[in-house]
Amino acid sequence: MHELSIAQEIINILETNVPTESYRQVSKVKVKIGKFSNILSDSLQFCFEVVINNSKFSNTKLEIETVPLIIECSDCRSKIEIEPPVFICSNCGSSNINLITGNEMSIDLIEIND
């Protein structure tokens, strides 16, 4: 359900950023999805195919780049990738950490075949 509303929102953003006459020429939309964003890439891809077929962007493919969950440790300053649900610095064991990446849910670029 969640992925379906995200797929619909991607199409809404396409509509506001692409000139109407170029809708059919949009070949690709590339999105960045963080590993900690609660979005399952396969499910988003599936939902996108469902909604795109009912839109004016019938030639558009979705490319998903998965962004790792990277933290910065406030104690030892390491920047390292972690695997949820372990929220500790694997270098020094501190739980005093900040998420640097992993929550992304953004559109990176739109490709148009002119």
């Binding site: 359900m1 969640h2 509303s5 995200i6 929102e9 991607i10 809404n12 953003i13 950023n17 692409v18 070949s27 999105v31 900690f36 964003s37 609660n38 949820p84 649900p85 372990v86 929220f87 500790i88 739980s95 005093n96 849910m105 953004s106 559109i107 990176d108 670029l109 739109i110 490709e111 148009i112 075949n113 002119d114």
Partner: protein
Amino acid sequence: MSVITIEKKILEKNDLIAANNRDFFNEKKIFVINILSSPGSGKTSLIERSLARWGKKIKFGIIEGDVQTDLDAQRLDVFKVPVVQIVTNGACHLDANLVRDAYSSIEKEEIELLIIENVGNLVCPAGFDLGEHIKVVVTSITEGDDKPLKYPSVFRNSSVLIINKTDLLPHVNSSLAKLKKNALSINPSLKIFETSCVTDDGIDKWCKWLKTQINKNESSTFY
């Protein structure tokens, strides 16, 4: 071929409305909490007990979110506070726009504390900013002590954890200590309360903390 680089957040529209909601609530000095849990953890019961404790001293406003029915709003009717029910008709979470529209129907009321009860779901609601000041996650002891590990983002994104149904502890295999340890491993800054909406254990402590937050909010701006 041309490329449009836009770097836009997919939920930008929601985030913009949420920021407007937050500005509005700050201006009106309304403290807003967004309560999240799985279905049946006791969100509505917790609101009932909070209303029973503070209903006459704090000016409450309640937004109830459910997939179907206004049963929760009916339950709260007895407390004679402004309640508005959002029926999402299948959607698994509330968004900032739904909250803005719902609030408009009670905006003439004087409100100090707005409680938004989200749709019962430990996944999707965690990703949608509604314009609240804090997220409060409720988990009941009957759900097991591993929920924070299974659904980390809602625990990571919340400021407060309420462990509910503590009266049932002798009857279940869950360990309170393990549940707390798991939650704190996801988010060490979680403020934890243990409550029972049947015996009222812990309700007073939670309500007193809530009142402190409202007082803080009245004397300053949160964000």
